[in-house]
Amino acid sequence: MSRPRVLVPVDVSSDPEPSPELLTLLEPFDVLLLGYFPIPEQTPVEQAREQREEEATARVETLAAPFVAEGRSIESMLVFTPDHEETIDRVRDQHETDAVLRPGPIERLERVLVPLHGDAALDRIVEFVVTLVREVTVGVTLVHVASEEEYRDESELLLRGARERLVERGLDPSLFELEVAIGERSVPRIAEIASTHDAVVIGEAAPSLRDLFVGDRPERLLQATSVPVFVVSRDQSDDEPGSP
């Protein structure tokens, strides 16, 4: 199996801070580094490129340098864009990356949080966690948010099932901790738990009408937490044919 590819978008309109832990976290993956330069609506994109390309390219090079120094596989691109969220989605789909890492500050790398949602993306999340944990030894907390206390048993069942699948793939059972959280709204609960972890792995949401108005779960979680989040891409072929 080829190594999974992770898209790492970084804002290069100001000097980004390189982080050695990020390097470790990304060790199991091929990296596609996307330096994006957000442009306000008032500015023609070509104008921004004309004036800022040099400094932005230098920043992308600085970010890529440690990967290159270690002889790791990294591809870099720089995009001037008025809407970086749209750019990230486009690059992810065009290059078919397996996950997107939304970087955040990492101080140490000990525990990763994997919130489960009981949906179809589970296969891909499991696959991703297996790759990650095989090479980087970190503890994993599997969490499920139940809306009420009375559903605790079902949540535990789901979590144990997921752990079983991970252990079947050869991971050490002692790495895993299971946690059922109770809360009406899952995103704030997950964000709360995430604050005691060093990174989060979640699945990309399938498009839904509701998401148009409130933003999808990954998006809302990204806003609520500052730790780095891997958003595992959903299988494009899962989508209805003809849907965007």
Binding site: E41, Q42, S76, M77
Partner: protein, 447 residues
Amino acid sequence: MAPEITVETESELERTLGLGAALGIGIGTMIGAGIFVFPGIAAGRAGLAATVSFGIGALIALLVALPASELATAMPKSGGGYYFISRGFGTLPGCVVGISLWIGLVFASAFYLVGFGEYAAALLGAGGGGTVVTAIALAGAVLLTAVNIGGTEKAGELQNVIVALLLSILVAFLSYGMLDSLGVIGAPSPPERFIPYGIAPVFTTAALVFTSYLGFVQVATVAGDIRDPGRNLPIAMVGSVLVVGVLYVTMIYVSTSAFGSARLAELGETAPVEVARSYVGIAGALAILVAGLLATVSSANASILSASRAIYALSSDALLPGEAGTLNRRYNTPHVAVLLASGPIALLVLTGRVEVLAEVASFLHLVMYGLICVTLVQLRRTDPDWYDPDFRAPGSPVLPLVGAAASFGLIAFMAPLSQVVGLLVLLGAAGWYLAYGRDVRLKGAHD
């Protein structure tokens, strides 16, 4: 070894615009201040025949829209009219058009801001007081400058919401007004004499209100992002001119049916508010007031942005000093260009001369529109290798030449002061070319 870095720029719009989106851009650029500010003034000048004046404007816009579509599919660049003329016709006409586009947008924006001042003053119940209007218009200019230098996100989406809101208010208001004036609701209003003030005012009014159609060439600037441009671009341009033309003509018809032109003239810039009040009371008046405020301020803002883009296009072709195109360190906005647009706007607002501001804006745009038509004929005649449009405008060379003649001809009906000011701008632009731009070789020029 340094890694390869791919550098890309992302378009501002969805990658592929359909016909609907392109139509939206055209309608959104045009529907704005004109329809709210002009009815009183136009009806006061030409009576019910002001409907014909708006029709003449639409006709000229249509004649220019077809050649502009052809040029845009051959040169899908964001520079629009400036790009066509500078690349297709030469540096001197290009430079003159570029500078007069900048100044024309400055005049247009000042006109919209004064209209904004009138509507805001009416909302505050300050009446037609000149100082209040000027003060509010100036405050508007300062605010828009600050917003554009500070940079905004998602203002484009807000703009779409505003356009949708304006269209709904207008369609509701005009449908009600039509039903009323035809006697379906209430008593039928006595028909007014069609041409109470003679034929000449019909044309002078057409020259005045042409400002309401400025910006339809804007659709051309997205030619590169449009799906099937050979078909969709001309349909979008022609369609948006027709849609707003029908709205304008209906607005005049409804307004004159409600009040008669003499009373409309007295009401001046905010006449539509009183028309709405007479139909549906205070709620109608408020809806039109709010719509007028939104329309004038968003038109003013769009003009400032277009002006700053024209300045950037000129500076990137070295027809203006490079400093004009620099971006602000902190906000990454083109602060120099924004100030070069908004500074003169503030000065013009102080004059408070709505009609002159509108006419000079139209004058300078009409010069560009006429030259677009001439450029088309010129390119068809020389037929250079690179010229390969997806869409071919019908009736060349007759229709484009009629379009050019009509564009230049409309200028003849403007007030002498507007003509003098417009001419001075053109001469100034030509003088600038001789002094500064004579050695410029245009990038990507097709020789």
